[in-house]
């Protein structure tokens, strides 16, 4: 599978096809046993997840994964870890450079939260947020890393139609800002509407790849879905 920079790339397939597994492999959460994964020509297959993030790849999880005891702002600040470039000694000494970096990180965090509609809840505890806000926060945390490739695992799950439209608009904006988006989704209408390219996975094998139009009319794909379940909308 190849993902082109600046595009929105969808990964779809019947349940159990292995979509989340692909994400876990790319982000280094599970070890790769065969083949390789390259990012910008560099082999990233053996790196630990923090190193992969350092290269510019961030992700969200299917079960929204947040730091539930922290506030919304704190969650995003953790995401800014790489950009704030912390060190033990500066933190201990509370140096001016350290304080300056933290101040800038806060400003960036607030701006990011506002752009995702979370500006008003910055001080709220993450574990108490409504579902839509939690999903937005997860996205904010991934974006806070300054990643050029964000991998989103079911970003639209559990959202109302209105919220889905909001989120897809955000994704399009990201693509315009040269952030590449790779996502897994079950909502076919949304996927076909927002993605530039779609890859279809079935039983761990890529069975098709192309524009949404091509995929929708691909016989193999239809067969795979009808064999398992109707493509949901």
């Amino acid at each position: 599978m190849t993902v082109m920079p600046g595009s929105i790339h969808g990964l779809i397939g019947p349940n159990g096809a292995g979509k989340s597994t692909v994400f876990n492999l790319i982000t280094g959460v599970i070890p790769l046993t065969a083949g390789e994964i390259r990012y910008k020509r560099e082999r990233i297959s053996e790196l630990r997840p923090s190193e992969i993030c350092r290269r510019g790849i961030a992700r969200t999880f299917q079960a929204t994964a947040l730091f539930r005891e922290y506030t919304v702002l704190q969650n995003v600040l953790v995401g800014a870890h790489l950009l704030a470039a912390p060190g033990l000694v500066p933190a201990l000494l509370w140096s001016r450079a350290y304080r300056e970096r933290e101040r800038r990180a806060r400003e960036r965090a607030h701006a990011l939260l506002t752009s995702l509609g979370l500006g008003a809840v910055a001080g709220q505890v993450a574990g108490q947020l409504p579902h839509r806000d939690q999903k937005a926060l997860a996205l904010a945390m991934a974006l806070a890393t300054g990643a050029e490739l964000v991998i989103l695992d079911e970003p639209l799950a559990g959202l109302t139609d209105h919220e889905k439209a909001e989120t897809t608009a955000v994704l399009r904006r990201l693509a315009e800002q040269s952030v590449t988006v790779l996502l897994v989704e079950h909502d076919m209408k949304a996927v076909m509407g927002v993605c530039d390219t779609v890859t279809v996975l079935d039983h761990g094998v890529r069975i098709a790849e192309g524009t949404p139009r091509e995929i929708q009319t691909n016989a193999v794909v239809i067969e795979a879905y009808l064999g398992a379940e109707e493509p949901g909308a």
Binding site: S50, H81, M141, A142
Partner: protein
């Protein structure tokens, strides 16, 4: 003055005020012990903040203690040098030990550090008796020597030394806790995989906390050696380690001030109950059980737990019946 600064100031002022109230050697001893325990529990809590319960913390205290004792008695070095050397030895050993132990997490980490601590204790107790004194212990460790014209023979001077050390350590650890380091540590504790995918090298963070904590434990150990002037392997075994854990957890691990609350209260309680011998242990045990059942986040969280309880009672009283409000 900001919250954390006020807290450190409070500790510093209380420590400074004590000698003005009493010069009694018994009270100075107890106070010195409290300060030493506080140094240990604060550094232990640093490690807990990243989610690791390091049962070998006390072993690094022992390593610092024995290193300094031997360097002073055998190599003729000054306490003021061995203070740093002892702590560095502890920290250096913490690097390989921590790297090994941190390969696992949760209860496995707890158990492997416990195994390490027993190995270290048994090592000091049964091997190289000529050096470490074996089961009878190592005796004859001198008090700190003169420095800058000041003598450190008296209880008061030793108390002062420990007070300064403790305040510096508390200051450093509080600062760390309120910094990005503390933020990241808490993130690791809550969801380490998420932190890792956000770019945090979780292993390196935990190892840093481990080594830093061990360095402080080593410092406390060096002081301990020259304060008590006698070392025995049981000083660094399961019992004192368990006490450290209790002091820290009773106080509350969620806040950097928890260890302070727990250490001070429990040490005082222990002294007050000392006369009762077996009843003391019985009461202590009952206190532990009751505290953990009714104040699981520790004593330091009691005010906020009480507030939450009051808020809930008030809300129940004012909510119309059958309104079906979500909690």
């Amino acid at each position: 003055m900001s919250g954390p600064a006020a807290g450190v100031a409070l500790i510093a002022l209380t420590a400074a005020a004590l000698p003005l109230i009493t010069r009694d050697s018994y009270y100075l001893d107890v106070a010195t012990t409290i300060l030493m325990n506080l140094t240990l529990t604060m550094s232990f809590r640093l490690q807990i903040s990243t989610g690791q319960i390091n049962m070998a913390h006390i072993s690094f205290m022992g390593i610092g203690a024995y290193a300094s004792a031997l360097l002073v008695t055998r190599a003729g070095l000054s306490f003021w040098a061995t203070l740093w050397i002892g702590a560095l030895v502890a920290a250096s050993l913490a690097v390989p030990i921590g790297s090994i132990a941190l390969r696992v997490s949760g209860p496995y980490y707890f158990l492997i550090t416990f195994a390490f601590s027993e190995v270290v204790r048994l090592f000091f107790n049964n091997f190289f008796e000529g050096l470490f004194g074996g089961p009878s212990g190592l005796v004859g460790i001198p008090k700190p020597g003169r420095v800058l014209g000041l003598a450190f023979d008296s209880k008061l001077a030793l108390y002062g030394l420990m007070a300064v050390m403790c305040v510096v350590v508390v200051l450093a650890l509080v600062r760390l806790d309120y910094s990005r380091f503390g933020l990241t540590a808490g993130a690791i504790r809550q969801a380490d995989l998420v932190a890792e995918t956000l770019g945090v090298n979780v292993f390196r963070y935990k190892l840093t906390a481990f080594v830093l904590g061990s360095f402080v434990a080593g410092l406390a150990g060096v002081f301990f050696a020259h304060f008590r002037q006698v070392l025995h392997s049981s000083d660094f075994g399961l019992e004192p380690m368990v006490l450290l854990v209790v002091f820290t957890v009773i106080g509350g691990t969620g806040s950097v001030w928890g260890p302070a609350v727990g250490t001070i209260l429990m040490t005082i309680a222990s002294e007050l109950l000392r006369e009762l011998h077996h009843y003391e242990i019985l009461v202590f045990g009952a206190v532990l059980i009751l505290t953990m059942l009714f104040a699981p986040e520790g004593l330091v969280a009691l005010p906020s737990a009480a507030r939450r309880l009051l808020r809930r009672r008030r809300r129940q009283a004012t909510a119309p019946a059958g309104a079906g409000l979500a909690p």
